[in-house]
């Protein structure tokens, strides 16, 4: 029994990591209509940026900020240079998925000669252990949970209480109408890529910090978990992604305790399949996956 309570503790950490990543992913999709399959690779690139800073003797917490900035800048440029021109050209949703998959493949293989095949890890003490009953977490893990809570609150504040957030929701609901109402949708989209890119970079560093070590191959595994959380919550729905992250984080950690940690992604995939069969629109969305593609 205490094994499952301990797994619940890890679940809290993993849902925090997944939530940061999945909210960014789902906002990209919801507002810019882009299923960005290169998301996992941007995460891992940011993790490596923080790794090299960390190796040079800089604290990982500063590395985390730089990683987030890198993710923001990279995602912004990726959209400006590749995705936006293709979308303007009228490439279909499917064409965009193929383009983003090609980008993901190129990124992974451009990184490979630079960073190598081997797993690396941050030089950072895990901090002291903190016990809450049977739940034992490191200080770093507590900090990760704290970061996630703050980020979620910031996103909530952004969407509900700022003009930019309102403009984002309007652009998400109907880009043409939003433009006709005088909302500068181009600038809103740029802002979305910067913000979600920062979330992506932050999530990459946080995920790498949470696992003992990471390697280039982790990008695909990240992507699967994020997809599962985003689809479960209803793609394009930031609050849905938060709920999805909570569920996927708990389910994968509990299954790892009950069964085998090798199959974490398989369990996430199982959830994804169940959602696609039983409720393809996700928990929150009204249309989501069932809406007709353009």
């Amino acid at each position: 029994m205490s094994l499952f309570v301990a797994a619940f503790g890890f679940g809290l950490v993993s849902m925090s990591v997944i939530a940061i990543a999945a909210v960014g992913f789902t906002m990209q999709f919801g507002i810019t209509n882009m299923i960005n399959l290169a998301y996992g690779e941007v995460m891992i690139s940011s993790a490596y940026v923080a790794y090299y800073l960390n190796k040079a003797g800089i604290s990982i917490w500063i590395g985390m900020v730089v990683g987030a900035l890198f993710g923001a800048a990279f995602s912004f440029l990726l959209n400006r240079i590749v995705y936006a021109p293709f979308q303007r050209k009228g490439t279909s949703y499917l064409g965009m998925v193929i383009v983003s998959l090609a980008i993901s493949l190129m990124m992974a293989n451009l990184l490979l000669p630079i960073v190598g095949y081997y797993s690396v890890s941050y030089q950072e003490g895990t901090g002291g252990l903190i016990r809450l009953g049977a739940i034992i977490l490191t200080t770093n893990q507590i900090l990760i949970i704290g970061i996630a809570v703050v980020v979620m609150l910031l996103i909530h504040g952004l969407l509900k209480y700022t003009r930019l957030g309102k403009a984002m929701r309007a652009t998400s609901a109907n880009p043409t109408l939003a433009r006709n109402c005088g909302i500068p949708t181009q600038r809103v989209v740029d802002a979305v890529w910067l913000i979600t890119g920062a979330l992506c970079g932050l999530a990459g560093v946080v995920a790498a910090l949470n696992s003992d070590s990471f390697a280039i191959a982790n990008g695909a595994a990240f992507l699967i978990t994020i997809l599962a959380a985003a689809v479960l919550g209803g793609a394009g729905q930031p609050y849905g992604a938060m709920i999805g992250a909570v569920l996927i984080g708990l389910i994968t950690e509990l299954s790892a305790a009950a069964w085998s940690p090798e199959y974490k992604e398989v369990v996430a995939f199982g959830v994804l399949v169940l959602v696609m069969v039983l409720r393809p629109q996700g928990l929150l969305a009204k249309r989501g996956a069932m809406a007709a593609a353009g």
């Binding site: 000669p113 699967i224 995939f269 696609m276």
Partner: protein, 318 residues
């Protein structure tokens, strides 16, 4: 040595042509972005392997663990591989093709491809895990002198390629192919005139699965080996690159794409000395080039080298 090289090239060309024709039916003609295509090839390969191999208790085979081991005589393993590919398409199609939006279908299939590989790698007792199956018997090897066996295998591959090409051309030019194109262009309109898009997609998904399974059987019979490392998801992307470069929806384009990308590309880059740069640089750059090829073609020439012919009704008024 040179004839060995030529035989190798011809057999790979045949397998790639078969795979590209199948992918073209699904992706080019019907518009299904089957990112797990390689899984269907893998299922065919594994099935053909375990149907033709002796049980894993046999003296030479005891270093690996696998299910099956039925030692069935040739054509049966290949036919079994093709059937397995088709059978796998049924549940996968049932989950993916019924309700989901087309871009969700694509990501679901991509995730399936990654997960299937993870499961087979980790579940060793099923198909020998990451090490894979080795010593798969070559079909009818005992009837031929090893020196001439290669030519026989080329012939066998050529016959299969011709059969698949015949099927593909018949499908594309049939009323069914026309309906598929109508559905691809405008699914709502096709539904409105009484076509059932789910049934149409399921059929072509199964047909593609059968052909992919056959291609896996042919490949594993030749290389006598099959492991998770040869069917990682990027392998599917190479085939997509081939179909996009060749010309989506055009069978001749798919054949041309198969010859240009998986065959031609691999052969050309073979001559770049691998001693340049850090280890793994050249293979990594090959993948980058595949990505660039896809993006470049989608940007500059999305219809491919040989575009799909515009089909117009002769008697139509201007």
């Amino acid at each position: 040595m040179n004839s060995y090289y030529a035989i190798n090239l011809l057999i790979y060309a045949g397998v790639d042509i078969i795979a590209c024709l199948a992918l073209n039916l699904q992706f080019g003609v019907a518009g299904i972005v089957n990112f797990s295509f390689i899984v269907f090839q893998a299922v065919g390969a594994y099935t053909a392997a375990v149907l033709s191999m002796p049980p894993d208790t046999a003296p030479d085979y005891s270093f690996q663990i696998y299910v099956g081991g039925l030692q069935l005589p040739f054509p049966i393993p290949w036919i079994g591989g093709a059937i397995a590919g088709g059978l796998l398409a049924v549940p996968v199609g049932f989950v993916v093709l019924r309700k989901l939006r087309s871009d969700y279908q694509a990501i679901a299939l991509l995730v399936l491809s990654v997960i299937a590989n993870t499961v087979i790698t980790n579940a060793r007792p099923f198909l020998n895990g990451a090490a894979g199956l080795a010593l798969v018997p070559a079909p009818l090897a005992d009837l031929f002198d090893p020196a001439t066996y290669g030519y026989f295998y080329v012939g066998l591959t050529a016959i299969c390629t011709a059969l698949v090409a015949l099927v593909a051309f018949r499908i594309v030019n049939s009323p069914y192919g026309r309906t598929l194109r109508a559905m691809r262009e405008h699914e709502v309109a096709a539904t409105a005139i009484g076509k059932n898009p789910v049934a149409l997609k399921m059929t072509i998904f199964i047909v593609g699965g059968v052909i992919a399974g056959l291609s896996g059987g042919i490949l594993t019979g030749y290389i006598t080996f099959w492991a998770p490392s040869v069917w990682l998801y990027p392998e599917t992307i190479i085939l997509f690159a081939a179909v996009i470069v060749g010309g989506r929806g055009n069978n001749l384009g798919a054949v041309l794409g198969a010859l240009l990308v998986p065959v031609g590309f691999e052969e050309v880059t073979r001559f770049i000395p691998s001693s340049i740069g850090p280890p793994g640089l050249i293979p990594a750059l090959q993948w980058v080039a595949i990505g660039l090829l896809i993006i470049g073609f989608l940007w500059f020439r999305p219809e491919g080298v040989r575009p799909e012919p515009r089909r117009v009704f002769e008697g139509a008024p201007d």
